[in-house]
C-alpha cells in the first residue's frame, strides 16, 4: 500500500514524481544518497541514462559501485528533463510535458542544485512572485522605482490541472545573461505539480520563442528542500559557466529572503498571510494545493 512504510503520510505528495539530482552530475554505476520526504533515498544511473532508486540500505552505501539494473526492491524511477525522478507512492504514468525541451537548437542543463532551509512550496511561491524583483534583484530582474506588477491572468487548466499565469510583464534592467539593456519582459508561469514550476520568458536571441527556466524542488523534509534549477535556453553565445553564474547570483539573492519567511511551512489558510493584488497567482497556488489534498510541507487550512 502506498505510503504504508513512509515517514510522509500524505498520499497526494507520495504519489508525485520527485527529483533526486541531475543525471549529468551523478557518476554512472555508483550509489548516490540523498533525502526525500524525510527519508534517506539512494539512486544510481547507467551510462545510457537509465536509473534506479531505492530506500537507502546498508549493503549499498554511498559511493559503492552498483549496476542500477540489478538492484532489487526498487522504487519507481525515471530519467527525464535532466533529472532522476522517483516516487514513494503510486505515481502517474506521465508527470508533465515540456515539448520545447526536444527542440534541437535548445541548450538544456542544470544551472545548480541548492539546498534551502525552507519548505518546498515556499521556494515555489518565491519563484512565482514578481513583486520582489526590484527589491531583491536590484539591477538585474528589477529596479526601483519601476516596481509595478502589471495585472496578469491566472487559471487552472481544465485538462492538465496545471496552474498557468499568463500575460505577466515586468521591466527588467538585465533580464538574462545576454541582456545588454533594460527591457519589458514577458513571463508565463506554469505550475505542473505541487513542488515543480516552470517559467517561460522572452528570449533575447529569438523574439518569437521563449526561454524556459524551471525550479524543480526536492522536499527533503517538511522544512528543508533542494531546488534544482532547470534551464532550456536558446542562446548559442554564452558559455554554460557564464549562464550559471547569472542564474546562481539571482538564486543566492533569494536565499536569505526565502529562509527568513516564517512559518517555514506554507500556510494554506487564506487568512494566514495578507496578500496583495499582484499575489493572485500565489493565492491560486495555495488554494490548488488545498484542493489537491497536499498536507506535507504546508500548514493546511483549518
Amino acid at each position: 500500500m502506498a505510503g504504508a512504510n513512509s515517514e510522509c503520510q500524505n498520499g497526494a505528495v507520495l504519489d508525485q514524481w520527485h527529483p533526486l539530482g541531475a543525471i549529468d552530475e551523478a557518476e554512472p554505476n555508483v550509489v548516490h544518497v540523498t533525502r526525500l520526504l524525510g527519508e534517506s533515498i539512494s539512486f544510481a544511473v547507467t551510462p545510457e541514462g537509465r536509473s534506479a532508486a531505492w530506500r537507502t540500505r546498508g549493503d549499498l552505501a554511498a559511493g559503492m559501485p552498483v549496476d542500477p539494473e540489478s538492484v532489487a526492491g526498487t522504487l519507481p524511477s525515471r530519467c527525464e528533463f535532466l533529472y532522476v525522478w522517483t516516487s514513494l507512492g503510486d505515481p502517474p504514468e506521465r508527470s508533465f510535458e515540456i515539448p520545447e525541451f526536444f527542440e534541437p537548437d535548445r541548450r538544456n542543463f542544470n544551472a545548480c542544485t541548492i539546498g534551502l532551509h525552507t519548505s518546498a512550496p515556499r521556494a515555489v511561491e518565491n519563484f512565482l512572485d514578481m513583486g520582489h524583483f526590484p527589491f531583491v534583484h536590484d539591477g538585474l530582474l528589477g529596479s526601483e522605482p519601476r516596481t509595478e506588477v502589471v495585472d496578469y491572468n491566472v487559471h487552472v487548466d481544465g485538462d492538465t490541472n496545471e496552474i498557468w499565469a499568463t500575460e505577466c510583464q515586468f521591466w527588467q534592467p538585465a533580464a538574462s545573461a545576454t541582456a545588454t539593456e533594460g527591457q519589458m519582459v514577458d513571463y508565463i508561469y506554469r505550475i505542473m505539480q505541487p513542488y515543480s514550476i516552470l517559467l517561460y520568458k522572452s528570449c533575447p536571441a529569438a523574439p518569437e520563442r521563449m526561454d524556459l527556466i524551471g525550479l524543480f524542488v526536492q522536499a527533503t523534509s517538511e522544512e528543508h528542500c533542494r531546488g534544482h534549477m532547470f534551464l532550456s535556453l536558446i542562446d548559442d553565445e554564452s558559455s554554460i559557466g557564464h549562464i550559471r553564474r547569472f542564474v546562481q547570483t539571482i538564486f543566492a539573492q533569494d536565499v536569505p529572503i526565502i529562509e527568513n519567511q516564517n512559518p517555514k511551512r506554507l500556510p494554506l489558510d487564506p487568512q494566514a498571510e495578507t496578500p496583495i493584488r499582484s499575489d493572485r497567482a500565489s493565492i491560486l497556488y495555495r488554494r490548488w494545493l488545498s484542493d489537491l489534498g497536499v498536507t506535507y510541507a504546508v500548514i493546511p487550512a483549518a
Binding site: N110, L116, H117, I240, R244, R245, T249, F251, V255, E259
Partner: protein, 213 residues
Amino acid sequence: MIKLYDYVLSVNCYKQRLMMSILDVEYETVPVDFFPGWEHKGEEFKKINPLGHIPVIDDDGYILWDAHAILVYLAAKYDPSGRWYPTGDPGLLGETASWMLFAEGTTNTASAARLCINLGYDFDLEACQAGAHRLFRVLDEHLWFREREGREWVCSGAHPTIADIALFPDVVLSEEGGISRLDYPALRRWTDRVKRIPGFEGMPGIFPASQGR
C-alpha cells in the same frame, strides 16, 4: 591587470573582491564553474593551482592562492597607507595575524556549514554549526569589549585591517549555514560597520547597510 579566478557564491573569493573594491584596485574575474561543474578540480585548473581550490590571483604573472594569503598580498601591495596590513606596527601586525588565523576557524565552521546546506557538501553539519557558535561567542565578546574602549574593529587600531575582511563574509552569511546571530549583538553591530566602509560591495545574500540619514 589582476585576474581573479572567481566563483560568485564563494565567501573566500568574495573576500578578495571586497578587498579590491575597498582599495579601488582594478581587476578582472575569470569565472570558474565551481558548482555544479567542479571546474576547479579539473586537470586544466590544477595547472593554475595544483591544490584545486579558489580563489587564485594572477597579478601580471605572479600567481597566489589561499584566500587569506591573497588578502595579505593585496593589502601589502595596494594600500599605500599601510593600515589594512599594518607592517609598521609590530603589535598591531601580530593581532592581525592572530585574527587571520581565527578566521581560518570561522571559514572551516560557519562557511563549511553553508556549503553543507546550500551546495550539499558532506561535512558534519552539526559539528560545523557548534564550532561556529563557539567562535562567534568569542568574537562577539571581544567586539563588545572593543566597543567599550571606543574601538570599532577586530584589531585594536583605529582603522580596519584585513582581519575584518577575512572574518566578515563568514559571519554575515552564517544564517545560510543555519547559524543564527541573534545572540551576538556586538557581532551584528560590527557587520553593519563593515558594510559602511567606503568602497564596500556585497555579494548575493548580503544586503547593503541602510544609509544613515
